[in-house]
Chain length 256, copies 2
């Protein structure tokens, strides 16, 4: 039987990654929500990079680049990781490649990038992603991006939602306590996510930055259907890169 | 206002420990349950050591030593970390010092041992410990021992129970998402801990080893009132080592 397990943060990745070749990376507030939204709205590719310096290099070569640190746009960049901004700017970004670096999410994508398959999850694409995962005959590791290596609630809720759907199908089992906990936290939260997350440290952080519109957007399940997948170092919509019912044959590690 | 925060495992300790001088170490299955039980039943002191080799050295000097790895008694030792065994052997151990090393719990005590105050928590001493913590004017870090650096459910439930009591008093606040999550997991579990933990990886591990009596004992809240405290490298009952209403003046780091 295939496994589905939850790893709370990049700091724990080495304890959990063994035996998995399919990793779902989650950063609900806001990197992976922004990536799903950008690709849903006509941006062709996202190039995730871990460091601001690398994003600057791509920018100097003429690429459009977005950079966020600590919830704010990095000086010298026009965009951060706001999905609402990606929607607003979508008309000018049709078919473009956008380079993106964020505090937590792109770091998590980076550490998973040597796996055969890396896909991007958010509450925004919850059902589309879960339904696709159910069709793969492959164990699934769900990696939360956390906040600077610490556990965070919103990624755990999203990871728990995916794990719950996969386990409920009867075709996946979970062994790790982290997976059991994520499932219970999701079930406690699902009927009123916004109020449940009042206590979340990151939501408080974003509220201080007047990012409530983004938070509301990111906590809305199933407002997109795109599943971003890492292919040759770029995140592209899954249905354009692969057959819907099969895993990609080869997955190049992310360039550095 | 003082803080109470939960750190899930020793692997995360460096991310959370800053600013805390009072640490509660928890290893429900079974080290800290055994320590509370041993001191409650007349054993004078527990010497926690991180390594089996160190326990052997103490043993060769004539000390009674107990050692557990992976749920089993280490060959060459008479006892592991079974609280039920400590109760059975208590008549022969009155006033004695017992050296103890375990897979996770003594490692967690070790990494916290440079803090001013290290006390030992379990479900067994939940109310006694929580009431004592409420009387201290000090922020509290609750450190779960986990399972080989991974998150575990039973330590998180116990940590959540303590955090919930402290936060409910109105005299403590929590900022970390790990603390919020531990509180929610405790509230989901509290009415039927045994059934909730059916899915726990460690309980399955112990069931395979026929340790259900120990598990039942460890999951019983408030069957002891002893609060073990680390003093000069030994765990002793708090009421014998310090004034009930004040913190110890000095706390020597654990010897190695």
């Amino acid at each position: 039987m295939n496994h589905v397990e939850v790893c709370f943060s990049p700091a724990d990745y080495a304890l959990y990654e063994s035996g998995f070749e399919l990793v779902v990376v989650i950063d609900v507030l806001r990197a992976t929500s922004a990536i799903c939204t950008a690709l849903e709205n006509g941006i062709a590719r996202i190039k995730p990079v871990a460091q601001v310096e690398e994003a600057k290099k791509w920018q100097s070569k003429g690429f459009i680049a977005a950079a966020e640190r600590n919830g704010e746009i990095v000086p010298g960049f026009d965009m951060g990781n706001s999905p609402v901004t990606f929607i607003e700017k979508a008309p000018q970004l049709q078919g473009e490649t956008v380079v993106l670096t964020t505090t937590n999410g792109t770091k998590a994508i980076d550490i998973a990038s040597d796996k055969k398959t890396v896909v991007i999850g958010a509450l925004n694409n919850l059902d589309a992603l879960s339904n696709w995962l159910l069709k793969q005959d492959e164990s699934v590791l769900i990696l939360g991006s956390g906040w600077k290596d610490k556990f965070n609630l919103e990624d755990t809720i999203c990871a728990g939602a995916i794990a719950d759907k996969l386990i409920s199908s009867g075709n996946f089992i979970a062994d790790e306590d982290s997976t059991v906990a994520a499932k219970f936290i999701y079930r406690s939260a699902r009927d009123n996510m916004f109020s449940f997350l009042k206590a979340s440290s990151h939501r408080r952080r974003l509220r201080r930055l007047n990012l409530n519109d983004d938070v509301k957007y990111c906590l809305t399940p199933n407002n997109v259907t795109t599943i971003p997948i890492l292919k040759d170092g770029f995140l592209v919509p899954l249905n354009e890169s692969t057959n819907e019912n099969s895993l990609p044959i080869e997955q190049a590690p992310m360039a550095h």
